[in-house]
Amino acid sequence: MNALIIDDAADTRLYVRALLEAWGYNTVDAADGLDGLERMREASIELVICDWMMPRMSGLEFCKAVRAAPFPHYVYLILLTSRSDKSDLLAGLSAGADDFLSKPVDAKLLRARLRVAERILTVQGLLADQNRTLRESRERLQQAYDQIQRDLASAARVQRQMLPPPDQLVSPFRAESLFLPAAQVSGDSFNYFQLNNELIGFYLFDVSGHGVQAALFSARLSASLLPTLASARTAAGTGAPAAGFPGPALFLSEVNTRWVEPDAEFDNYATIAYGTLDKQSGEAQIVLAGHPPPLILRHDGKIESLAAGGLPFGMFPDVDYEPQRVLLHPGDRLILYSDGVTECANRQGELFGIERMQCALAASAGDHRSGLTRELEAQLQQWGGTLDFEDDISVLVLERDSES
């Protein structure tokens, strides 16, 4: 251990140095506080034995200066003094001294005090090591957390890019949508696409759970729900025949059967609304797999609901789904939504519910320009009192062109 002895009396310096050298310390000395600070800068000193009364810089001033300096380790300070007043001792402690030793120096007492100092410095050293380990661990955790956040943000961007634009003409239908993920990545997804020259396909699904696992399930399911990927095109692309499309019910049943391994433990499942729109007749065929029944907002403001039905996707093999048929007249809108809309809770825990949703839709039914989803989003934010929702919210509105 490196020790510094500061005293303006050379005989005291020599005596104390000799004792410490004999006990195994490496020592340096200084004649006053200013010299002492200089020695502190030159070498790593852990222990200082310092006289109180000295020219240029006293022991008290030296203690204050050491405590104010950013040394990388703790410095144990013993003040040498002939003072014994309580007020002097308090002044010494306030200045940062750890211990006192009376002059003239008694060798046995000094040895005992040094053992105390060694014990405290050892504990200080252990604490410093542990703090360094904790700091390094925290930095590594922070780096890992930052990386996860960056990855999630990237995943969220990719996921949003997989969704269709929020407002798009898919002649003779106009599609608008709302997507408010609860976390950065979501289990909800939706899409519409040209099946062939006559039919537009569409789906909206809600995967159980949240986060990365649900998002990965969602990505895989999105790909599976595009019939004959090689020939189908998204609505933005050219329509190519999806030869052999068996209709939404049989298609969903086939995908489900391929997806589910009998008796396998499942990590996620999904509720799905899947369907087709006939561009000529306006007929919609819709299959529900445990999904909230879509709504029909007629051009005159009346709202109808499809019937509930169907087992969730991904739970059981060999499930038969039954299509529901509904005719969309010019100006009618088909509204698919996830249960995050109706189960959006306010601060009192009350759910937004289907009635409020229908009222919100009916209130903006006559306005075909501003968009239903923006009005619904505003109402949900007002209801929930937040911009961050507990469940993923997604809405897809398909409106038959008034002119068609």
């Binding site: 008796d263 499942f266 039905g309 739970m315 059981f316 499930v319 789904y321």
Partner: protein
């Protein structure tokens, strides 16, 4: 209703109960039970399977349990089979709930409360519990 009969098999592992609950609840709703009724009947079935794992197999994983779901026009019948030692005679007679502070003992009372009929039989080396809920 899209399915009338389904056989669910699982091992005596409590972590599988979540899966089973999701599937049974979906089947109940698909059969036409309202949300509360579906939740009640699902609870009864999960309690019965949990009893099989905890008391029948004494928490040992790896033993077989089957849940046979059958849905008719007016009712749902569930048959739960396991190969555990038989339960105490008359265990289905415990219709009363235990004191509020009791930490266990509600399973059978809940099964009986949430079903319209419940019966037990020992068939060969198997315990067979039948539960019925009217639609």
């Amino acid at each position: 209703m899209t399915t009338s009969a389904t056989l669910l098999t699982l091992e005596s592992d409590p972590t599988r109960l979540g899966d089973l609950q999701s599937r049974v609840d979906a089947l109940c709703r698909d059969a036409g039970l309202e949300a509360v009724a579906a939740n009640e009947f699902t609870t009864a079935i999960i309690e019965a399977v949990a009893n099989s794992i905890r008391h029948g197999y004494r928490g040992e994983p790896g033993h077989p349990i089957t849940v046979h779901w059958r849905c008719a026009q007016d009712r749902i019948d569930i048959e739960i089979r396991d190969r555990a030692p038989p339960p105490p005679a008359g265990f289905l007679d415990h219709r009363d709930m235990p004191p509020p502070a009791a930490e266990s003992g509600r399973g059978v009372a809940m099964i009986l409360a949430y079903t319209d009929a419940a019966s037990y039989a020992r068939i060969g080396a198997e315990n067979v519990l039948n539960l019925t809920r009217r639609l």
